[in-house]
Symmetry: none
Subunit: 413 residues, 2 copies
């Protein structure tokens, strides 16, 4: 089944509100195995909305409309849809009672406009609104189904999950299930990853491979459509093996809700080991990323931000003469930072960062020059990098690279 | 002039990415006095994209396409638009040079696919990409204009602001100018701000007032449409005065590209003063926010992340008995952290954070309990807060509050 999502609201077209409803509904529909081909935003204008519904009917069987169910003059999604279908709007008794009760409890004055909120399209299934007042409607014809949902996300989401999903599963049962697996890669660009997997991607039918690039990482979503869960999982596994053979060296973990920092924290926890950091150009961003993860206190006692030469010498007790001789953007400096931070914080590992965030040059090195060192009981190792783009990207790159270096060290044990 | 925005990308239709580009572009176009009637999202499918461009031409004169300029097979916005216009794609020399230089500097391997990124539609104006590799194109016919922009927001935004805006202003000049002024507020919620200004907002015609809520701050964009720049500026000033009278205590600065951290760094620079930090639950996020600002080394030498009791005692030389007696989530602890950090780092100011990021309780305090202290030559002051929501929000709230406390101290001098 093909679906499309129409969000109604001039505030969306003025850029005052982000259309997160479309994202949420798309994700939910993908999960139900319903394909979304279009998302459209249209203003509070009855003619344009009716035209859009007519267009949507030529492309999709399921049409979801969100927004415009409220009490103001601008709210005309129900009117436009009913007019297009040649139906009237009728009061829903349960919805009307809830409306009355709300205004009684809150001692607010109910206006005539509020009555709109408890109307539904004649012949449709009312969708009660647990977290608000405007009723939704589910309306089905021989060829199409229409779902009208309220605009506020805190009303739309529970209405969809609690009522629309079961209704869709009942009315449009799908024998086939979608099973997905997300593989995460670091250190390889999207274009190179896609080139390495070109033949697999070009011949994909089922399972499918969807690459997606985020800053500094690429994910591959493998999805299989199947009636047989076990066979589906096996097909995913077989595909994953082919992928791992070619680009496995860049793979670091599974799942939507994962990150290099999470993988590192899990490895440290499993090893019962700890880490500290000494950060110059990243100025605490590596440690802040550790702090994002609940329960990180088991593996991270704290660390240092040594932005100036003086704090490198002072906090980390590094010989100022060494810093003067080699400069702060040097192998010698970053290795001393790592060694001393580990020593002072008494941790198993430490990661140190120094370099040039830019935009200006520093000590004769161009912006993007970054040294990263890792110290452990086995000694200290360091690497020099040249990151590109702006200050924010250079610092973010450095943090990600620090996590990846540490991850590789932890895996080597 | 009527415009519409087409975002291209299957990841948007799968609900994996929120379409913030449409919001940004809508806001920018509104600001230019260009009306947006539709936003549409379509997948990485050449036929559907070409059909959509043809449809858009029947409704709008200006068509903005975003996404699909990258190097993979999926990226076909340029191909589809060129095919629809009956034009070919040509290599842009400047873009090609930049591409080569990027792969040389970063020592990465360039693939044939990457060449797509430096192509533009024949006869179009190339739009260089300051923060990425894929070129944009501006293409104009007798009846329509087409603007192709990259999908990553950090590439699309500077390209639009720096290149597309001046181009639109030049090619489609409007007799009336829009003059805007952005006021930024911290410490007041959007609903309260709007309530305080209710009569001004309800009677607005010219200038207009557009409130916009970001996490932890609210901005008001005042916009006047005028042929007389001086009169327009005076109208904005008169409106701003009314607003400042009512909610001026929450105002902290002007402009889109501003933040509490920037204001703090500017004040410190103006005073020739310095700051350090000792962070427990924020784990470096305050210092990382300082590090975001170019030139911060003049006012920030470095600081401490003291996540555990041991590092609070060790790095900051705080008496462990005090920590044991009062706990780490206490006035006594946070004030010692601030005093000692300032002492050790030899700065004019220090900011210290301790508390419970959650999700679990700590030392009997619920998640969201946060102490912040500021130490200066005038002594130490501290405040206790109860922040709500999740771990990320609690930590972000704490950082923002720390900047606001420091800002107020700096203004008091």
């Amino acid at each position: 089944m093909k679906a499309e999502i129409i969000a109604v609201g001039t505030e969306l077209l003025l850029g005052q509100v982000v259309n997160t409803n479309a994202t949420f509904l798309s994700e939910q529909l993908a999960d139900l195995g319903i394909e979304v081909y279009y998302q459209t935003v249209v203003g509070d204008n009855q003619q344009r909305l009716e035209e859009l519904i007519a267009l949507a009917e030529t492309r999709s069987e399921l049409i979801l409309l969100c927004g415009g169910l409220g009490p103001t003059e601008d709210d005309l999604t129900k009117e436009a849809t009913a007019a297009h279908l040649g139906k009237s709007l009728i009061q829903n008794t349960e919805g009307y009672k809830k409306l009355l009760a709300y205004f009684e409890t809150t001692h607010r004055k109910m206006t005539k406009n509020n009555l709109q909120q408890s109307q539904i399209i004649e012949g449709g299934v009312p969708l009660p609104n647990r977290t608000g007042l405007a009723l939704g409607t589910f309306y089905q014809t021989d060829t199409h189904a229409y779902i009208l949902l309220p605009g506020p996300p805190n009303e739309l989401k529970p209405m969809f999950v609690e009522q629309v999903r079961p209704l869709l599963e009942e009315r449009f049962p799908s024998e086939e299930k979608l099973i997905s697996k997300v593989l995460r890669f670091y250190g390889i660009g999207e274009s190179r990853l896609v080139t390495e997997l070109k033949d697999l991607i070009e011949t994909q039918i089922n399972p499918t491979i969807a690459p997606y690039a985020k800053p500094n990482e690429v994910t591959l979503r493998l999805t299989v459509k199947t009636k047989d869960v076990q066979a589906g999982n096996q097909a995913l596994l077989a595909l994953e093996e082919k992928i791992q053979e070619r680009v496995g060296e860049y793979f670091y973990g599974y799942g939507d809700d994962n990150s290099l920092a999470k993988v590192v924290v899990e490895l440290l926890k499993a090893n019962k080991q700890t880490v500290t950091a000494a950060e110059s150009l990243t100025a605490g961003a590596f440690q802040a990323a550790l702090g994002d993860i609940a329960g990180v206190s088991d593996v991270f006692p704290g660390g240092f931000v040594t932005y100036s030469l003086q704090t490198k010498a002072g906090f980390l007790e590094i010989d100022p003469e060494l810093l003067a001789e080699y400069g702060t953007v040097s192998k010698e400096c970053v290795e001393q930072m790592a060694i001393q931070a580990r020593e002072i914080a008494r941790t198993d590992y430490s990661v140190a960062f120094t370099g040039v965030a830019g935009p200006d040059m520093l000590e004769g090195h161009p912006a993007g020059t970054v040294w990263i060192a890792i110290s452990s009981k086995d000694g200290v190792v360091s690497e020099k990098y040249h990151f590109a783009r702006d200050r924010a990207a250079i610092r973010y790159n450095a943090v990600m690279q620090g996590f990846d270096l540490l991850r590789k060290q932890l895996l080597r044990k």
